[in-house]
Symmetry: C2
Amino acid sequence: MPVITALETHDIRFPTSAQLDGSDAMNPDPDYSAAYLILRTDQPQLQGHGFVFTIGRGNDVQTAALDALAHLVVGRDVDRTLEDLGGFARTLADDSQLRWLGPEKGVMHMAVGAVVNAVWDLAARRAGKPLWRLLAEMSPAALVDLIDFRYISDALTPAEALSLLTAAAEGRRERTAMLLAHGYPAYTTSPGWLGYSDEKLATLTRAAVAEGFRTLKLKVGRNLAEDVRRCQIARAAAGPGVAIAIDANQRWDVRTAIPWLQALAGFDIAWAEEPTSPDDILGHAAIRQAVAPVPISTGEHTHNRVMFKQLLQARAVDLLQIDATRVGGVNENLAILLMAAKFGVRVFPHAGGVGLCELVQHLAMADYVAISGRMDERAIEYVDHLHEHFVDPVEVRQGRYRAPAAAGFSAQMRPETLLRYRFPTGAAWQPLAPPAAPPLKTG
Amino acid sequence: MPVITALETHDIRFPTSAQLDGSDAMNPDPDYSAAYLILRTDQPQLQGHGFVFTIGRGNDVQTAALDALAHLVVGRDVDRTLEDLGGFARTLADDSQLRWLGPEKGVMHMAVGAVVNAVWDLAARRAGKPLWRLLAEMSPAALVDLIDFRYISDALTPAEALSLLTAAAEGRRERTAMLLAHGYPAYTTSPGWLGYSDEKLATLTRAAVAEGFRTLKLKVGRNLAEDVRRCQIARAAAGPGVAIAIDANQRWDVRTAIPWLQALAGFDIAWAEEPTSPDDILGHAAIRQAVAPVPISTGEHTHNRVMFKQLLQARAVDLLQIDATRVGGVNENLAILLMAAKFGVRVFPHAGGVGLCELVQHLAMADYVAISGRMDERAIEYVDHLHEHFVDPVEVRQGRYRAPAAAGFSAQMRPETLLRYRFPTGAAWQPLAPPAAPPLKTG
């Protein structure tokens, strides 16, 4: 009967703004960061790791929000918690005083998600399985019990979810074999950051195609003429068989987005991502209708299942992103994946940042095996950046994510990273920091 | 040329959960709290005060979010800041790293709102006017310059806002005189908290009507039979000439809200508030259509102007609440009031809590004088609770808010309150706290 004895937090930041990696129209100089937590138990080997990805300032606020959840976690019996992970997630989201700070959005809700994810990491370690497999081997009824249907029952009832999961139960074994043999498609954003020169864009595009990627994404939205030129360069470098998506990172109003996207439509856009405010469901619907057939997409900043529900109900998007650390953790992402499956909308998970690839691959793979049953014409975002800081980093080969084999949620950072990048006291943040030692690559 | 020298923060909490004041279907045991800030300048008398209202746990997280904004404020020239308060508010909302934590929602956005409000407090003190009058005497063009039209320009353009404000400029003098003579209507929620007995409900309802209130509000949503009984008691005690609103505090799903509200429709409901998730724009629209003519309302948890825009575009509400500390401060509330005026939707500001009455009265009064030009069939929520902690508390007489006369935004708490209720070190939070000294009533 192990017990959770501590919720330990770490403010971890990487000084990435120095290189302009990760720059886009709204985020010119991010320092990729993680508000990181370790759930400790009275058994030293039994731990759970989780985090919220942020881009620098405010990571301390996010870390304080993790601390604010400790009273709901510390002292819990591990086995009883793992027996009812649906109830556990609801307990965190429903603390009546903390709920006022959202409800179910922003800093406090992301903190709930990180703690829920850490408990899933612990659950998967205890089960001796990677998280995707733990989820994919649960019964349809057990999966339904994980979902909080509050505020989404008008779009998806428990009975509908059960019926969908039961239908998908057939073929789980074949799909697991397929996943283990071939992996899950990846797409790359690495060539397309706004801070890169035209030459670097062309070189990185050719390299990505040579590596096996069939989908690329460019950041757009700063200047239309520049976007036209960059689309031309990328299209010429990639060749005709490669899908090219664009991402405006919320740069436009509805009335700006429409002519801008019409001007880029000739480049055979795979999807146009975050054309406007992530909160603007009706705005996305209006843009989609006006620029059809350019596919419209959003989701990495969509803050909970209620917003995803409406994007689907309003037919506001052609496809969706999910993000592993934006919403209330694994449970809420399962609700979103179930709604997407019901509405027949494809999901292209958001990743990059710090550790987002590591986490979200598990959700996409569980979706393939046990929920939607599909991975054709889908892909998980991939950025080759900062993976060396993780104990179980993603492995992407020939444009596909390999299925993780280690037990857990791939969330654990290396102990030396937690020391070196701790803000503001770690060695990486000292005025004359020595260069980092070469990372030990395990992937 | 005074300069802002410090952003000083205080975690202030009142142990209100002991009395069940403020209990409702979602918030059974709140400890009313404020994440409080003081902007200090190099002139000791020149200060600005602001705060975010919370209900207890998490007030430390909210306070940390205020601290995270200090780098955008400290060192600023006061006069140059006050000359461009629109630009100042956008600077806070647009910090590219902090924006990731929302965007424009939850803990980080409420912190932006509190700092913006504190600068408005400073601006009104420096002008020697109460805030409502400072706003009501600005030119239409100057008011338009305060608004961030990003993401709302499809519903309200700067030209439309200017035209609306210019039309409302006529009659400002007469409306100011009317406001000073008669005050602004209040409504009261004090009789209707869920924790109160039937006898207390009846007694407080009769007392409220005798005091002059023409609108009351009851909390509902825990149990339908109980709600029917409480509506009967309140209606019998109030008599037929008094409007009775109900507030479900997000308790229901769409499909639960519809039959529940239909069962209460016979009590001549003035409005049904927060029937479901504040994020569910389409859900509110569906409920409104199904239960017509029961008026539907929401807004106290609506997190920014983009969400208010959609509530109006979708015809999801008959009226709206605004809240002084939920969104990005005075500027964003002006955007919301302008959109409400354009769409012809009445605003009944949310108040209660700690200091929400003190703040929001200024916004409603400025709206009456300079934006909508109306206060008939409108009212500001009023709860007679914790006002004694403010230097310039609201004054409600015969069911109407009297227009504040003191310079500023009425946001300043008494110095002894900041000491006594500081969490967790203040005297009020010690295990054997002596009873509070009788407050010095100034209102």
